[in-house]
């Protein structure tokens, strides 16, 4: 078995898993399963990215989406008591719209592939970098030179979103018994406890 064949087998196995889990996300009834299949889908996508040697992006996908975003997603899904949808409840009218959108996306993808096949990139072989090539450094250089403004603007928008989300959800409830940590730390023990020195007493009816 040659390494190329091995790589292709790995690719097709994980590509199948990716597509299968992506379809399962929208077709399973249980919301928890849906979220878990989405995790599986992200994970398999990361493996596909590893195969095209984009290891930094692949690991970041796992770290950010699987490790943080989906955890919070699962958290919410578990906290909410979502009733399992029955087949009869699903609106049939959505199916047509969904098929239409899917068809449009398929055409777009095919057009993109057609564009790629018609020129520029050599289709039958991957662009390989020599050993020791670090795409971490490469991504960093691109982000902070060529795309520095979009990058910074995106960062500011995210910050604004965080602040806005906190402002929208923060409410002071009356009767809230939240404790102030600095007050707790700075208490004076002598105000709360009195040490009394007294002679040892003998118990009643005991001699020793």
């Amino acid at each position: 078995m040659s390494p190329e064949l091995f790589q292709q087998i790995i690719f097709y196995v994980f590509a199948t898993f990716t597509v299968g889990s992506a379809m399962a996300v929208v077709s399973v009834k249980n919301t928890i399963y849906s979220a878990l299949f989405l995790v599986l889908c992200f994970f398999n996508t990361a493996v596909l990215w590893l195969l095209i040697e984009a290891e930094f992006l692949a690991i970041t996908l796992v770290l950010v989406y699987v490790g943080a975003v989906m955890v919070l997603f699962l958290f919410v899904v578990m906290m909410l008591d979502v009733k399992q949808a029955k087949a009869s409840q699903l609106k049939q009218s959505y199916t047509k719209a969904a098929l239409l959108i899917a068809a449009a996306m398929l055409v777009e993808l095919l057009m993109l592939f057609g564009y790629k096949l018609s020129g520029q990139i050599p289709t039958n072989e991957l662009i390989r970098q020599e050993q020791g090539y670090s795409n971490v450094a490469e991504v960093g250089m691109e982000l902070f030179t060529k795309y520095v403004y979009p990058f910074e603007i995106a960062a500011v928008i995210l910050l604004v979103a965080i602040v806005a989300a906190i402002m929208l959800t923060m409410r002071k409830r009356p009767g809230n018994k939240q404790m102030d940590a600095s007050k707790q730390i700075n208490i004076n023990p002598s105000e709360r406890i009195r040490v009394v020195s007294m002679k040892a007493e003998k118990g009643q009816g005991e001699d020793s």
Binding site: F6, V39, V62, L63, V66, L74, F75, M78, M79
Partner: protein, 336 residues
């Protein structure tokens, strides 16, 4: 055929060596933990099985493996079984990029630091899935607490790692260690002291160990997410937790204490870099885990959240800039 040979001889043997090593270390870590805590409680600790109780871990393992695995009523069997496997697999996967000595590493990848962070953050799925699949309110409460705690402390942990990344100028763990060559004063623990403390404390929180063990707080929610687990499935959780503790300790040693380098300088045998320095430094942090467990009471949930969000994250953000300034101005002996 060549590929198969490559896979078996160049990878499988190393993987087996690491996995068996970690499992054996975990076994004796439990013994060590019980002895250390017994010492701090002025007790004897395990001393019945084998000389000085040295065979106790094996007795425990045999006991756990021969016990029955009980499935709770209406539990989701598939998820119930896969949760401990996820915990264990992610705990072992992180070991792939740990350099034990110069060049002694399974996968010397450039994004090693991010990889470790990703793998340790995946461990939370084992906890969440276990908590949900058990069909028990205590397990679910434990899982929710754990998820909130791990996600919160991961941010502080990530920022502490950004500090290391700025200091070393590389995400490769071997490169990070090589940046600290040249004795005690060259270690990153000195310029990154606040980040070092925050990383280690966040590591303790990530692994759900005392004093951050609200996820399994025995006095409130019995045993948290693994309350319904027994036998081999529980053993896997146990193994995963301890493997995670070792990896946090190992990473702290690599990133802040110069990994395999000796604290001494010169040409004598004691100044030679070797795997024993790395193992010794790792052991210090493992001991600190037990020390903390034996001496501190459990944090309250709101205290944990306050510490993570309001104390650690601001300190790390400020210190990242301090490190950047120190690096740009070539503050010695680390960056000249």
């Amino acid at each position: 055929m060549e590929l198969l040979e490559f896979l078996i001889f160049d990878n499988l043997i190393y993987i087996l060596a690491i996995v068996l090593g970690v499992i054996l270390t975990v076994a004796y870590l439990t013994y060590f933990e019980r002895k250390v805590i017994a010492f701090m409680h002025v007790r004897m600790g395990p001393n019945r099985v084998g000389p000085r109780g040295l065979l106790q871990p094996f007795a425990d393992v045999l006991k756990l493996l021969t016990k029955e695995i009980i499935f709770p009523k209406n539990a989701n069997k598939f998820l119930f079984l896969i949760a401990p496997i996820i915990t264990l697999a992610t705990a072992f996967a992180a070991w792939a990029v740990v350099p034990f000595a110069d060049g002694m590493v399974l996968a010397d990848i450039n994004a090693g630091l991010v990889y470790v962070l990703a793998m340790t953050s995946l461990g939370v799925y084992g906890v969440i899935i276990a908590g949900w699949a058990s069909n028990s309110k205590y397990a679910l409460l434990g899982a929710l607490r754990s998820a909130a705690q791990i996600v919160s402390y991961e941010i502080a942990m990530g920022f502490a790692l950004v500090g290391v990344l700025v200091a070393a100028g590389s995400l490769n763990l071997s490169e990070i260690v090589r940046g600290q060559e040249g004795g005690l004063v060259h270690w990153y623990i000195w310029p990154l002291l606040p980040l070092f403390l925050i990383y280690y404390i966040s590591g303790v929180a990530e692994t759900n160990r005392a004093p951050f063990d609200v996820a399994e707080g025995e006095s409130e929610i019995v045993a948290g997410f693994h309350v319904e687990y027994s036998g081999a499935a529980f053993a896997l959780f146990f193994l995963g937790e301890y493997a995670n503790m070792i990896i946090i300790s190992a990473l702290t040693a690599l990133m802040f204490l110069g990994g395999w380098y000796s604290p001494f300088t010169g040409d004598s045998w004691i100044a030679q870099p070797s795997i024993f320095w790395f193992l010794g430094k790792t052991s210090i942090f493992l001991y600190a885990y037990f020390w903390l467990r034996a001496s501190l009471p459990r944090y309250r949930y709101d205290q944990i959240m306050r510490l993570g969000w309001k104390v650690f994250i601001p300190i790390t953000i400020v210190w990242i800039f301090v490190v950047a300034v120190m690096k740009v101005y070539h503050v010695g002996p680390w960056w000249n």
